[in-house]
């Protein structure tokens, strides 16, 4: 394993001057998150549940969700929130079921788009989920 990566408290500085700087910050954040993945897997015992590549995919998917944003201030705020979330996870302030629910199953990574549900109609999919649809 690589040398353990300590998450320095890189608080996001208040203002990015322009979009380029914001973009740079986004990639810094992504790198910090990916570097803390081994710690996360160690803390929450995710070795058998998910592979690091899948977690990376999950993180990048969440970042890509907001790819349409162009205002640097908004990007700063999103980064702040992301940093807060990452800090919580690395500090073991969350629990295993949170991680699995939010980042593993939530993105449709684990067994949700299995062959069982492919040909089924919306009615049946909703029926299996709950009574209220």
């Amino acid at each position: 394993m690589a040398a353990p990566f300590t998450l320095r408290k890189i608080g996001v500085p208040p203002n990015s001057a322009n979009l380029t700087e914001a973009r740079r910050r986004v990639f810094d954040f992504f790198r910090a998150a990916c570097r803390s993945i081994p710690t996360i897997m160690d803390i929450y015992n995710l070795q058998d549940v998910v592979a690091p590549s899948q977690l990376r995919f999950s993180i990048s998917a969440q970042i890509r969700n907001n790819a349409h944003v162009t205002d640097p201030k908004v990007i700063d705020l999103l980064l702040f929130k992301g940093m807060e979330e990452l800090t919580d996870i690395v500090d073991h302030a969350k629990q295993r079921h949170h991680i699995i629910g939010q980042y593993v199953v939530g993105e449709g990574l684990v067994q949700n788009t299995g062959s069982k549900d492919q040909g089924k109609s919306d009615f049946l999919k909703n029926f299996y989920t709950s009574n209220y649809f």
């Binding site: 009615f123 049946l124 029926f127 299996y128 009574n131």
Partner: protein, 746 residues
């Protein structure tokens, strides 16, 4: 009670007086003078209202409509200066109600006889030496009624003071707190201080049964319960004993209230003297969410309000519906809600090879059923809908079974040969409220007291109001009104049909005869002959006319009318015995022994009642308080239930389960939403889509062909053995078990 509105109303007229004070008073000191204390002096110094003052328009209390039986006989009275036209026999209180003034009262109830003993309704009438009890005084033409004068207010304060004198300080522990008439009216009309310094009297509690909790110390002797029991319920159980402050309401002998309407005294009692025993100390009324829905314990479809706190039903209260249940509900309706918490099916289950049930996911359960259903032949598939099924689920079940190639889908309670072609042959054709116009009743093979308590209450009301004659053919039973027992079996019916029985004379002389046939007769083998005899009686005595149709059929289950409208009838008697796949949708009264040992049984329902033990697969469904379903009552009135609490565990709505099963089995039903199901129902039975409307039968008995069969001589048997245990919910209810152990007459 709308007495909360009274509070604001009482304040408003007072502010009119304040406004008339001169506005240059900078300092308002509170000063009391002897002139201000006596009401008469204040009345004298009141400023006269200007003569041509335009008063704001007033609507009757509660949005009520006034029915004038003879429009020429209307009289005009003046209520607080407002002229109002009322019919001739109205009392002063009713005239004030028409004028929009709600007068406080404790003993007066619009559906009971007038007692006039609480004196809270005192109002001032001009030219009368003392205030009059408005509930008892008839309104005379030109009467000037004043409800907000100091005399009336002083009277109310005085009555309130007297009532509270002997009333215990029980508000914190009394169940009626928050919905108590005494609390509301003392806040609105009572004085702020009392002068009572002696000891309060107390009264021993009476044991009225497992349903009604009595704390007789709180009783204010309004006698509403006494009048209710003797007039509406027809049992003379309660009475007033003693005189003066030693008066006690009780049964005098150690007797329990066994009437099926005994729970209604809980609603009627204005204070916390009679409360609901199962609901005692469970909740306060302000933390409950009321949902207006329909009851399904019998075929009447009483309107109820389900009070729930979170996911739990706390109590059931009646709703006003003049046509069906007025303001009453039977004990079964009121108290069976705790069955909704017990024995609930919450997960799909499949029976293992060792005979035990194992909880599985919906996917697996439906996959298993979908596999098996393709391995049986079409006519070996049988679907049976239960007595609590709603119209949507029955429609989807019928569609599914029909598309699988089978015709064997029926509802519980409809035996072979019941045909649903003509709607008059299974509905209450004179409508429940129309029974009030009948003057002779002939009950054939039915005991309305246990089968449909609200119909019985209506008959009792008719008997009491217009001295109608009631005669019945069937097993000897208790009735709470005078009725003649003509016989026990079809022989008596034959005699009446042929004109040999002395009762025929009464039928012929009746203006509006009503014949009520019980649906239990549909299960007899000689059903055709019996129904033909009934129809010949109807024809001979002019029972079915354009203006009056007295031929009524009293159904037993909430789902029966809708099932017959949708066409769920049993075509062949051998269907169940030769079935290989049986789908029971809440059907617990099916004779489980008749199902062959190798048949695959799927049970879809909400309680683990009788038929579950034979099932191979269990699919949990939602109960009537958790789903939106359409029910048609025995007179053809379509109503909808509203979900009050969330479904239990992993249960789903009935129609959704059948629709999902059909999809898994490869059958494509053309709808996947409730609107789709309803539009499908519209093409089959459009009256089921028009909620809150009664659709009378279109054709009369003239279209029926001649019947060739003969009647057997077996006497009619009672259909309902135990009033308190008739469906899955009541059988699971502890309160119903207590009632049937204690209250049934042995």
């Amino acid at each position: 009670m709308g007495v909360g509105i009274l509070a604001s109303r009482a304040i408003r007229p007072a502010s009119r007086l304040l406004r008339s004070q001169p506005s240059n008073l900078l300092l308002r000191t509170i000063v009391s003078k002897p002139e201000l204390q006596s009401p008469e002096a204040a009345a004298v110094s009141q400023p006269e209202p200007p003569k041509n003052q335009i008063l704001p328009p007033r609507n009757p209390v509660g949005g009520a409509r006034v029915h004038f039986t003879n429009p020429e006989d209307a009289i005009e009275v003046f209520v607080d200066g407002y002229a109002v036209k009322v019919p001739k026999g109205f009392t002063v209180l009713q005239a004030c109600e028409v004028a929009g003034v709600d007068i406080p009262r404790f003993c007066y109830h619009s559906r009971l006889s007038i007692a006039g003993n609480c004196r809270m309704c005192l109002v001032e009438v001009e030219k009368s030496p003392k205030p009059v009890a408005s509930c008892a005084m008839p309104a005379l033409p030109g009467m000037k009624i004043k409800t907000d004068t100091p005399i009336a207010k002083k009277a109310r304060e005085g009555v309130m003071e007297f009532l509270l004198m002997n009333h215990p300080l029980d508000c914190p522990i009394c169940d009626q707190g928050g919905e108590c008439d005494l609390q509301d009216q003392s806040m609105a009309f009572g004085s702020d201080r009392g002068r009572f310094t002696e000891m309060k009297r107390s009264v021993v509690d009476k044991n009225l049964g497992p349903l009604v909790k009595t704390v007789m110390t709180r009783c204010i002797q309004c006698t509403r319960c006494v009048r209710f029991a003797s007039e509406v319920a027809g049992v003379q159980d309660l009475g007033m004993l003693g005189r003066g402050s030693g008066e006690e309401i009780g049964t005098y002998v150690e007797k329990l209230m066994t009437s099926e309407l005994s729970g209604n005294v809980i609603d009627i009692c204005p204070v916390g003297a009679l409360t609901s025993k199962p609901f005692a100390f469970k909740a306060r009324n302000w933390e409950l969410k009321g949902t207006e829905t329909i009851d399904v314990s019998d075929a009447v479809g009483s309107n109820i309000r389900v009070d729930s706190r979170g996911p739990e039903v706390m109590r059931i209260i009646p709703r006003l519906n003049e046509d069906i249940n007025e303001e009453w509900i039977s004990d079964k309706t009121r108290f069976s809600y705790d069955g909704l918490k017990r024995q609930r099916l919450s997960d799909p289950m499949i029976r293992d090879s060792d005979g035990r049930f194992k909880a599985v996911s919906w996917r697996d359960a439906l996959a298993v059923v979908g596999d098996i259903i393709h391995q049986v032949k079409s006519d070996e598939i049988v679907g049976i809908a239960g007595q609590l099924s709603d119209a949507e689920s029955m429609m989807v079940l019928k569609d599914f079974v029909n598309r699988m190639g089978s015709d064997n889908v029926w509802c519980e309670g409809t035996a072979v040969g019941v045909d649903a072609d003509l709607r008059y042959s299974y509905l209450m054709n004179s409508s429940i409220s129309g029974l009030e116009n009948a003057d002779v009743f002939l009950l054939v093979g039915t005991q309305p007291r246990v089968e449909a308590a609200m119909v019985n209450a209506r008959i009792c009301k008719t008997v009491r109001a217009s001295n109608a004659k009631v005669a019945y053919i069937g097993p000897p039973a208790d009735f709470n009104y005078d009725c003649k027992h003509l016989g026990t079996g079809p022989d008596t019916l034959k005699e009446i049909a042929e004109g040999r029985h002395p009762f025929c004379a009464a039928l012929k002389n009746a203006k509006n005869p009503a014949i009520i046939v019980g649906a239990g007769l549909f299960n007899r083998t000689d059903k055709d002959a019996i129904l033909a005899a009934v129809e010949s009686i109807a024809q001979a005595n002019n029972v079915v006319r354009p203006d009056w149709n007295g031929l009524n059929y009293l159904l037993l289950y909430a789902a029966q009318a809708a099932a017959l409208d949708l066409g769920l009838i049993q075509q062949s008697a051998k269907a169940l015995e030769s079935a290989k796949f049986v789908y029971l949708m809440g059907a617990d009264d099916v004779d489980v022994d008749k199902i062959p040992k190798d048949a695959f049984v799927v049970y879809q329902g909400h309680h683990g009642d009788k038929a579950v033990y034979r099932a191979n697969v269990i699919l949990p469904a939602s109960a009537f308080t958790e789903k939106e379903g359409t029910y048609e009552n025995t007179e053809g009135f379509t109503q909808q239930t509203v979900p009050a609490v969330p479904t239990v565990g992993d249960a789903r709505d009935d129609w959704k389960i059948v629709r999902a099963l059909s999809e898994v089995s490869g059958v494509n039903l053309p709808y996947n939403s409730i609107e789709g199901v309803r539009s499908r129902i519209k093409s089959v039975a459009p009256n089921l889509v028009h909620t809150d409307e009664r659709e009378p039968a279109a054709f009369g008995p003239s279209l029926k062909p001649e019947c060739k069969e003969t009647m057997s001589t077996t006497p009619f048997k009672p259909v309902v053995e135990n009033f308190y245990m008739t469906n899955a919910i009541t059988r699971a209810s502890k309160i119903m078990a207590q009632c049937s152990a204690v209250l049934l007459k042995k």
